[in-house]
């Protein structure tokens, strides 16, 4: 019988499958680094994993705490700086990058800056970080959204997707041909972008999710692929790797915090006893 998996493990492996052997990959913290670690360990041994702080060609041993975490690996091949990491991206040396999303519109434009009015925000989010340049110049960009929202109009355009759709991104003359978001991964499924209209469509559903459930979260009339695939389950080997490498990622944030707090209190009590 195949091994059972968590939702987070399914998402991690879905992202990992976007990495091809030999790719130069920019990884953000959380799901992407775990995805990169799985890919490198199991099916893309020649991928070059990079973090925008200038850590190039690393093999994480534990999930990095942030994008400058040289403690998460045992050495790496090339130390450069953030400026050069971005110009490397600008020159087209990055094959795939991973970005988290707070708001997204149907053409894959993203907002990670603010919900509501910019000057008087409902929610002030982290901001751009490296996202705009990565989404502009990486050959492919995998977007991940958990807890974010689909909107007709973004409250703030942080990073450019396919702009107004169609050939508007290409026509702007600002971005390399073929660049832009290549997929959006959510807790319900996988969306891709139509080759001509550049509008996102539902390409894949996670097991147990229906098209209706997805439509409920989307304010426009969502296009759906003629044959929607079901996200393949992770293999036993993949599950074992992820759960051993990044157990806190496997269980999801909620359970991690719950168990983490219990553990901290328990240790404190033991210290008092001693």
């Amino acid at each position: 019988m195949a091994k059972k998996y968590t939702l987070d493990e399914l998402l991690i492996i879905s992202a990992a499958r976007e990495i091809n052997d030999g790719d130069c990959v920019i990884l953000g913290v959380g799901l992407p680094t775990t995805a990169g670690a799985v890919a490198k360990a199991l099916f893309a041994p020649n991928a070059t994993l990079m973090m925008e702080s200038g850590i190039i060609d690393f093999e994480p041993l534990v999930p990095p705490n942030h994008i400058a975490d040289a403690n998460a690996c045992r050495g790496f091949s090339y130390a450069t700086d953030l400026f050069s990491m971005f110009t490397m991206t600008y020159r087209g040396f990055v094959d795939v990058c991973f970005l988290g999303v707070a708001q997204i519109d149907k053409f894959g434009n993203i907002n990670t800056t603010v919900i509501g009015d910019y000057d008087h925000p409902d929610m002030r989010l982290p901001g751009s970080g490296g996202a705009p340049e990565f989404l502009s110049y990486a050959k492919r960009t995998v977007l991940t959204m958990r807890g974010g929202e689909f909107v007709e109009t973004l409250d703030y355009l942080t990073s450019p997707g396919f702009l107004d759709g169609g050939d508007s991104r290409e026509k702007s003359g600002l971005f390399p041909k073929g660049s832009g978001p290549s997929m959006l991964l959510t807790t319900q499924g996988v969306f891709r972008f139509d080759e001509t209209t550049k509008e996102m469509y539902l390409a894949q559903l996670h097991p147990g999710i229906t098209v209706e459930m997805v439509r409920n979260n989307i304010p426009w009339d969502l296009k759906v692929a003629d044959s929607v695939l079901i996200t393949p389950a992770p293999s036993d080997q993949e599950i074992d790797f992820i759960r051993r490498f990044a157990p806190t990622e496997s269980v999801g944030r909620k359970l991690m915090y719950e168990l983490g707090i219990i553990n901290t209190l328990k240790k404190a009590a033991e210290r008092v006893k001693a």
């Binding site: 790496f76 130390a79 020159r91």
Partner: protein, 348 residues
């Protein structure tokens, strides 16, 4: 299949695969660690119509111009031997019209590579050169050698140079792994920018080392593997120039070359003997030792003065502690699996 990503090959194969007639070829090294053997191999293979970039073109430029490989030269500093009676390959070729040359300052030349390395189309350089003949006299680059623009912030006139992205860089370093991670230390010059601005990169090194050595010293890496096309192990690959940690400048050999270079016939005789007369660097060094004695080579061999090791370690290399408990959540894998099952978090 031993390793699909190994880029190790001979100098002969690397030059024949990655250097084409008509290419813009850049010498990666600056003054020291000259990629002598790769230069020799370009000469042996008689590559033609090259546009040659060299920050400071003495030994390398003289050989390639002398061998008739170069039509155009971009440099900041070229060699001339022997006072009024002397000369150089560059001077002879300028005189007979077979070479055109574009002069830049050291900084401007380097700025062009920095722009190319970072993907910018030009770079601002100090404006003083506008009054000089470097600015006024232009050869094959014509209008494109420099341009003046108005700064949008200060409204002042600023001098710019265009970016450079040569077709291929040849560069010699101390060590590299088989994937192409190239480590170099000493005078940094414009070595990294020369390599990283180029479309293809051929690295020669004194030693090919295990990947683990590279991983434990990433700050010595100047060219990452994913940019490199070929790795060639060539001990003594920079002789008669020096490689810190391996050997010193061979002043005698260098002086003999410079004396020969005073005349076209002299240079030709020297190259017949040392470049065309030796199929590779091994043969060159054997010949050198046979003629001058092994002690000549031993006398310039470097004694060790090791860099202090830097600690790249961290507290742990696994999420699981020695008792098999996850460090944040404090549970064993078995307990974790039970919790996931009980909470109904498992699917499939």
């Amino acid at each position: 299949m031993i390793n699909p990503k190994s880029k190790i090959m001979t100098a002969k194969e690397a030059i024949s695969r990655f250097v084409n007639d008509g290419d813009q070829l850049i010498i990666g090294n600056y003054t020291v660690s000259t990629c002598a053997e790769l230069v020799f191999e370009v000469a042996r293979q008689q590559k033609k119509a090259l546009t040659l970039y060299s920050q400071s073109g003495i030994f390398d430029v003289e050989i390639l111009v002398g061998a008739g490989c170069v039509d155009k030269l971009i440099s900041t500093y070229v060699y001339r031997a022997g006072g009024k009676e002397g000369g150089s390959a560059v001077e002879r070729s300028l005189k007979d019209g077979s070479l055109s040359m574009e002069d830049y300052t050291n900084f401007q030349y380097n700025a062009r590579l920095m722009a190319g390395m970072h993907g910018f189309s030009f770079m601002q350089v100090p404006e003083g050169s506008m009054v000089t003949d470097l600015f006024k006299r232009r050869s094959f680059m014509g209008e494109g050698k420099y341009k003046i623009i108005r700064c949008p912030y200060t409204d002042k006139e600023i001098l710019t140079v265009p970016s450079a992205n040569p077709d291929v860089c040849i560069v010699h370093v101390q060590r590299a792994d088989k994937y192409g991670n190239a480590q170099y230390w000493g005078a940094m010059g414009s070595v990294a920018a020369a390599a990283l601005s180029s479309k293809r990169i051929i690295v020669s090194c004194e030693e090919i080392v295990d990947h683990e050595i590279i991983k434990s010293s990433p700050h010595l890496t100047i060219i990452p593997a994913f940019r490199v096309d070929a790795v060639v192990e060539i001990p003594w690959g920079a002789h008669p120039s020096e490689v810190v940690g391996y050997y010193n400048l061979d002043k005698v050999a260098y002086a003999l070359f410079l004396m020969s270079d005073m005349t076209g016939d002299g240079l030709k005789a020297w190259m017949d003997q040392w470049v065309f007369g030796c199929p590779n660097r091994h043969a060159y060094i054997e010949k050198y030792m046979a003629e001058n004695g092994a002690r000549t080579i031993d006398a310039i061999r470097a004694k060790a003065y090791y860099s202090a090791p830097a600690n790249y370690g961290s507290a742990f290399d696994s999420c699981w502690d020695n008792q098999g408990r996850e460090r944040t959540m404090g549970v064993t894998m078995e307990e974790l699996n039970t919790i996931l099952e009980e909470r109904g978090l498992l699917r499939g």
